[in-house]
């Protein structure tokens, strides 16, 4: 039985705040391991103790295993919570924690390496009922074999040059008549660009949804599923809007949950994890497993009425969670928007600087996960996410309306934000219908937003305020002497 009394947080921003608050509510002391660049943040002000572990570049601080471990030990912490990103999915770091008698709040180093490697992950999944994306990566590279394999996989098939990337050496064959040409052309590009003619094949899922299942392995070895999230709204593989639940049939839901649990059980998984799938129609395929808390965990928390961070801490503390799978019933719908400091009219160029003023419009079913406040500075050192806004309501249409209203009332001065972009997405037919695929943003928002001209009424208001705000303070006359009434 462990007895965690002090947790070191090896992260920053809104997730550090999230973890500190969970600890405070559980009566656990916190020490924030931060970089030199992160003194002006909410987490820094909120934590019981702080230790500066190094300079702003992540290699000198947040990604430096030795410095993180030293910081945690110097502060006398019993455990380390890695949050997400940075060292959260680094098996070497998890092992270093164990070697230094620190509890790593997360799965075992073995589970991290197992799922961190695409091939070993796929091999493990193949031993369960869970479907993987059909493909071929064999030694036999003759054209005859490749064409036969493509017919077996089923079209469309993606032909990739080994070592390819960024779309080079990648061809899609939509039917068997295109197969030969795709193989020849991918091979040519492979030889020219990477000096290798080796190819591999994979079923092309160009019209799929990203659905992920939140799972949780408790200290007794029991694995729970906490329903699914829909994260198809992605830009360059980065999620922008996440929801729970997903728009899938009850039959598919039952199958996908069972598959996710079987994968986690097979790996004897401990703590919070996410099994990601690509879904096309009623078919689903294992994509990868994330062995950490996810950025979008709040939507699951809202819908399921649970606290994933506290549960993680309990699992690390050898305490079992209070749940019973049959009692875990979802309620309503939750949506999360990631608020980035960026210019939507410039295609999302980060907007750095000091936050002059911000207002989070609290209200029923509105949750704000905030890492920075008025006076804090967003730098180019890290990710430009300043907050996450999560709403929860009885239905998806209501949740969408609530999110639109919340974003419109949110005020951030000093930095540009992606709020105008988020509002466009939330009102787009393809989003409202729930039919969006992972190609949604690329297809519908390929370019930066166009800035609208200010309307007559807007100009009226702007000019009125301009006058008010630029007016010099009135010259004060000579002070009257309050000791006497009007002079006689």
């Amino acid at each position: 039985m462990n007895n965690i009394e002090k947790i070191a947080i090896a992260n920053r921003g809104e997730v550090a705040v999230r973890i500190i608050r969970a600890c405070q509510e559980m009566g656990i002391a916190t020490v924030l391991l931060h970089s030199e660049a992160d003194e002006n943040t909410v987490a820094y002000r909120l934590s019981d103790e702080v230790v500066c572990i190094g300079g702003a570049p992540i290699a000198n601080s947040y990604m430096n295993i030795e410095k993180v471990i030293d910081g945690a030990k110097a502060a006398g912490a019993d455990a380390i919570h890695p949050g997400f990103g940075f060292l959260s999915e680094n098996a070497e770091f998890a092992q270093a924690c164990i070697d230094n008698k620190l509890i790593f709040i997360g799965p075992t180093p073995e589970a991290i390496s197992l799922f961190g490697d695409k091939i070993s992950a796929k091999n493990l999944v193949k031993t369960t009922e869970c479907p993987v994306i059909p493909g071929y990566n064999g030694e036999d590279q003759t054209e005859e074999t490749l064409l036969k394999e493509m017919d077996r996989i089923g079209y469309p098939v993606m032909v990739k040059a080994a070592g390819g990337g960024g779309g080079r050496g990648l061809k899609v064959a939509h039917n068997s008549s295109e197969a030969k040409m795709a193989v020849e052309s991918a091979r040519r590009e492979g030889i020219n660009a990477f000096g290798s003619d080796r190819l591999f094949l994979e079923k092309y899922l160009g019209n799929s949804k990203h659905i992920e299942v939140q799972i949780f392995g408790d200290c007794t070895g029991k694995v729970f599923h906490l329903f699914e999230r829909e994260c198809s709204v992605q830009r360059r593989h980065q999620k922008v809007i996440e929801e729970s639940l997903g728009n899938i049939s009850p039959e598919l839901r039952a199958k996908i949950h069972k598959s996710a649990v079987s994968v986690a059980e097979k790996a004897k998984y401990l703590g919070a994890g996410t099994v990601e799938f690509l879904v096309e129609g009623e078919n689903y395929y294992f994509l990868e497993m994330n062995t950490r808390l996810q950025v979008e965990h709040p939507v699951s928390e809202m819908v399921m009425g649970i606290d994933l961070v506290k549960s993680q801490i309990m699992a690390a503390n050898d305490q079992s969670v209070f749940w019973n799978q049959n009692d875990l019933t979802p309620h309503g719908h939750a949506i999360e928007c990631r608020l980035y400091a960026e210019d939507p009219y410039l295609g999302g160029v980060p907007s750095v600087g000091k936050i002059g003023f911000c207002k989070w419009p609290y209200g029923p079913g509105r949750r704000f996960e905030v890492g920075f406040e008025e006076g804090d500075v967003i730098t180019t050192n890290y990710d430009s996410m300043i907050a996450k806004i999560i709403v929860h309501d009885e239905s998806r249409p209501r949740a969408i309306k609530k999110m639109i209203q919340t974003l419109k009332e949110t005020v951030v001065f000093g930095l540009k934000t992606n709020i105008p972009y988020l509002l466009e997405i939330l009102q787009h037919e393809g989003f409202v219908s729930g039919e969006m695929t992972t190609q949604f943003l690329a297809n519908n928002f390929p370019k930066a937003l166009e800035k609208e001209e200010d309307s007559e009424k807007e100009l009226l208001i702007i000019n009125a305020l301009k006058k008010q705000m630029s007016a010099k303070p009135q010259q004060q006359g000579e002070l009257k002497n309050p000791w006497y009434e009007e002079s006689k």
Partner: protein, 127 residues
């Protein structure tokens, strides 16, 4: 920061306003507006690389990956001027309106600072 309620044609509008470094930031009716206070009130606000000035400035510190224009080029609105990299992402800076390239002030692989002038543009005869 100032929070005022205006009455515009009988309609109540709540406005948040703050002056930051010569700019007036406004928020009302669900939108944020940025106005430059430094150079009179003639100019309209425009966000972005072009700003309201006649040159392309770096919207953030980063590295120039490739300059796509030469001095004297005529550009159409939306033409690619240069590609830069910042925070491991690539960004394309484009012509805000039809214009001519007066001067190119940076080259490939340059490290540039925030608001550094990169390209000088000629917008032609403008009232």
């Amino acid at each position: 920061m100032k929070n005022v309620i205006l009455n515009i044609d009988g309609e109540r509008v709540q406005v948040w306003a703050q002056v930051l470094g010569g700019e007036l930031w406004l928020h009302f009716n669900g939108k944020t507006f940025i106005q430059d206070l430094s150079e009179g009130s003639r100019r309209r606000s425009k966000s972005g690389a072009a700003g309201s000035a006649k040159d392309i400035v770096a919207p953030m510190p980063g590295k120039i990956l490739s300059v796509k224009v030469n001095k004297g080029d005529s550009l159409k609105k939306g033409d690619l001027i240069l590609v830069m990299e910042a925070m491991k992402m690539e960004y394309s800076l484009k012509a805000p309106v039809d214009c001519k390239v007066k001067d190119v002030l940076c080259k490939d692989n340059d490290q540039v600072n925030l608001k550094q002038k990169l390209v000088d543009l000629d917008f032609g005869e403008e009232a």
